[in-house]
Amino acid sequence: MTANQVALWYLVASVFFILALKGLSHPSTARRGNLFGIIGMVIAVLVTLALTKNIAMIVLAIAIGGAIGAVVAKRVEMTQMPELVAAMHSLVGMAAVLIAIAAVNNPASIGIPVPMPTGNKLELFIGSFVGAVTFSGSVIAFGKLAGLGKSFRLFSSAPVVFKGQHMLNLLLAIVMVAFGVWFFLADAPGHWFPFLVMLAIAFVLGVLIIIPIGGADMPVVISMLNSYSGWAAAGIGFSLNNPMLIIAGSLVGSSGAILSYIMCKAMNRSFINVILGGFGAAEGVAAGSAEQRSVKSGSSDDAAFIMGNAESVIIVPGYGLAVSRAQHAVKELAHALTEKGVNVRYAIHPVAGRMPGHMNVLLAEAEVPYDQVFEMEDINSEFGTADVALILGANDVVNPLALKPGSPIHGMPILDAYKAKTVIVNKRSMATGYAGLDNELFYMDKTMMVFGDAKKVVEDMVKALE
């Protein structure tokens, strides 16, 4: 195959990647989109394989990696998607680093002239340090998501902060760039030393960047690392002069950046504020000193009775629901209510769950039809006419305190559940949410608290309805 033919095939693959993302604009076209992505990938891999001489070893490597990937994809629980995605980001990062090492070792093997031009070195530097930061950052994110904080402090979901943290990060970044400059100027084999030091610093930086970010901000972190993994791929594309890698990498990079933006906006935080971290530590202490106030609590039976007599019920699922794996029970509840002629809808806050769109997937897994599930902007005006808002394991996203100027979460968009005629809240206890704030909603006269594990409570409600 000539270089021109290869480039044209890569163009075809790139178009398929764009179509793959385009397909996700609606659930009905999404599966076709995924198929386009697969076609693009098959083209890219086959064309590249045709250029190599060591096919047996490469096919073996693909088979091993592919088998692991296929098994994981089949076994993973939908509640564990954030962990899976974090783990996959780390693999992209590591692959970028390894490719950069191979390129420094033997530039000719991947089509870079020897001795390596400074331009290629700059690109390798960018590709490898972004890859390294993506790798170690994602490992930390994975640990935080998987709740490994007890066994290893760096994985703690509480922010790990220390004095002079940001200065240290800045200093390390400057030193890393200095070694990068040394790497440009040095010739082979002398360039190995600055290259490896630079990589080591980048690995450390990845850890330091993610540890101060608290568990509540994980949706932003995952989106951000998604973006980084794309930029790492694009960086490697630059050093290999491969437009397809650049295109695919930039698509992913901008996708992750947009998701980060959407998540920040849904939490009313600036991106800088999230990155600097430490959120959720100070406020949590303050909330502990709040005075005891009385709430009205009731049983599942009471709640079921109220909902059975309602005309419309809006269910607000939160992460607590996913933790107790109650999504199937909720679907049964919605079914039982619908049988009684009650109009049931679901309201999803953009940060419900631990990653963008997580709650939608969990509901879809429980076979909740997607035309009953509404985004915040589409359903907020409906709460005023709803008889019951049933809040399951959600807290901050329905906290009317967000409307009060001066409160720490002021301005955060919330679901207007407090406008419903009756509010039923299921929680395990009166503990505060991630933001560490008391929730006014729980103390309103029209609010009834049903304490207990979401799954048990919802199952009891279903029984009471039947």
């Binding site: 993302l21 060591n54 490469i58 088979a63 990696g65 994809a73 490719i99 930039s250 990079g253 901008s254």
Partner: protein, 110 residues
């Protein structure tokens, strides 16, 4: 103006245009599918496997090609895992068929 355009400049042009395409395409993605979006972009960024295959490519096996092969395996985990888990999720978003059909399907499945 004389001479040819540096390949890095050409790459930069491709890069900037691709960022624009990505920006516009991703905004059309429905928020309900943001998790599948993330898993599919993960699979797509694993097209970095192309670089790994090239690095593993030379006929004689040495340090560089072994490192390349490891990178191939890592990226392959993502390629397969990413696309398959996306497919699994998207199957769940399928519009529900009428009940009778679903029961028949369930019987056939078990």
């Amino acid at each position: 103006m004389t001479g040819t355009v540096d390949p890095t400049i050409v790459n930069l042009i491709v890069f900037v245009l691709a960022v624009f395409v990505g920006y516009h395409v991703v905004w059309t993605v429905t928020p309900a599918l943001h998790t599948p979006l993330m898993s599919v972009t993960n699979a797509i960024s694993s097209v970095i496997i192309v670089g790994a295959i090239l690095a593993a490519g030379p006929a004689q096996i040495d340090f560089g090609s072994v490192i390349g092969a490891v990178a191939v395996a890592l990226a392959a985990v993502n390629v397969f895992g990413g696309f398959l888990v996306t497919r699994r999720m998207l199957e769940m978003f399928k519009k529900k068929e009428p009940k009778a059909e679903k029961k028949a399907e369930a019987k056939a499945g078990h």
